[in-house]
């Protein structure tokens, strides 16, 4: 893929950091307000309904809390594993000078992105087993490559004259990495992690199909039993979680970003 194309795609996914210095933009406050309003409307709607026995079994706080906990656990653990694997691997790859290796990584990452997540998760469940562990592995396998690619791109896009100047000032390779390259690559790396986090929330919804719990359970139960309040609650809560996580990651992105870039 040409540089132009990847830049356009970065534009499409909003990874380009053009929000510099706008700590208190509308978006910063807009998202939490939207989340609170949506949840309040949902709660108001649910409390105005008379629930039958099937709905009461799922629309109560302990059940909802447990599904949310399962969902968040899957998302957070998967993202942590992704960060631990992908970032160091990206750094190591950036030290490898071979163009062929980079091309191979990029093309595998591209093919990986067109793999349907649901297909990967279900395939893993069929050939192995169902449950939390397999869902976790599916999530990690799916998101490792994009984060790795962002790490690599983040380090490669640094102006070579900067690293050269650092070396000229007498910095050792490790110092150049830790004090020049990584801080400059952080925005791109975090953007990759943020995408992976949001993505994990989405795929964790699908994890219900392989018996790994989460809020997808509510969607599937609501659909199977034709209980729309259950389905809507599951779908709305999971969307709010995705928005909240994206918002938090955006906040982290702005705070971690080094001053002066």
């Amino acid at each position: 893929m040409s540089v132009q194309a990847s830049r356009d795609i970065a534009t499409a996914f909003g990874t380009a950091s053009n929000r510099r210095g706008k700590y208190f933009s509308v978006k910063r406050f807009g998202t939490p307000v939207v989340i609170v309003v949506v949840l309040a409307v949902l709660f108001w709607w649910l409390s105005s309904l008379t629930l039958d026995s099937i709905e009461q079994r799922t629309l109560n706080w302990p059940y909802l809390w447990e599904r949310t906990y399962e969902h968040l656990r899957l998302t957070v653990i998967a993202s942590a594993i992704i960060a631990v694997i992908a970032i160091p691997a990206g750094i190591i790859l950036s030290r490898v000078r071979s163009k062929v290796v980079h091309a191979v990584v990029f093309s595998i990452a591209n093919i990986g992105q067109s793999t349907p997540a649901i297909g990967l998760v279900i395939l893993l469940a069929i050939v192995w087993e169902t449950g939390f562990k397999v869902a976790l592995i599916g999530l990690v396998a799916y998101s490792v490559l994009p984060v790795l690619r962002n790490t690599l791109v983040g380090i490669q896009q640094i102006d070579a004259s900067l690293t050269e100047a650092a070396r000229g000032m007498g910095m050792k390779p490790l110092q150049v990495l830790l004090r020049i390259e990584l801080p400059l690559a952080v925005p791109v790396i975090i953007a990759g992690l943020r995408t992976a986090l949001v993505f994990c929330v989405g795929v964790a919804t699908v994890a219900t199909f392989i018996n790994a719990g989460g809020l997808g359970d509510m969607i599937v139960n609501g659909l199977k039993l034709q209980r729309w309040p259950v389905l809507v609650t599951g779908a709305v809560v999971v969307s709010c979680i995705a928005l909240a996580i994206d918002w938090l990651a955006g906040l982290a992105e702005d705070l971690i970003k080094p001053k002066g870039t």
Binding site: D8, T11, V26
Partner: protein
Amino acid sequence: MDNSFFTRLGSFLSTRSADIAASATEHLVVVLVSLLIATVIGVGIGILVWDRPISRSLAIASAGVGLTIPSMALLALLIPILGLGWLPTIVGLAFYALLPIIRNTVVGLQEVPAAVSESARGMGMGTTKTLFLVQLPMAWPVVLTGVRVSAQLTMGIAAIAAYVGGPGLGEMIFKGLSSLGSRNAVNYAVVGTAGVIILALLLDAAFVAIRRLTTSRGLRV
């Protein structure tokens, strides 16, 4: 084991080739229809908002918010309103496809050098003529990349849409799951998944050709 897996996959492919081809065609059709709808609406919205700062940032911010909503949740929310089948699938897919297209249309139109638009005006072109003869053709490569991103996105989401009764290869993946433990379970899931990957790669390659053919001659490198 490996050998028997491939022979079984081979016989699965040959006995069900008609089914597989039908599913793949449906998958492609549903993606292309959604993309077409999304392109028309998305470029339209992009044209309307790109030089109005407030509605522009509103459109881009809501596009970003839209992309974070899990596809399974959105498709589920459409069921009580639209029922099952093609309709919620196309609406859901078009929704996701819309977002990158709006964003790229806005960015593409903004990147057109002001001097070029101004000289078009100076040559006596009106606002509409400038838009269609100068600004849109110059923004087109960026817009098309948005459509291409949307195509990859909707290919994967279309597989999930099988759960709300949507057509396509997702049906095969879910058939594999529901026949878990039987001999053909793996075959169904493998064919469904690999089919989506192959379709996505083919469509992506097609976009390279479309980009070349539809980009204005002066912009081709």
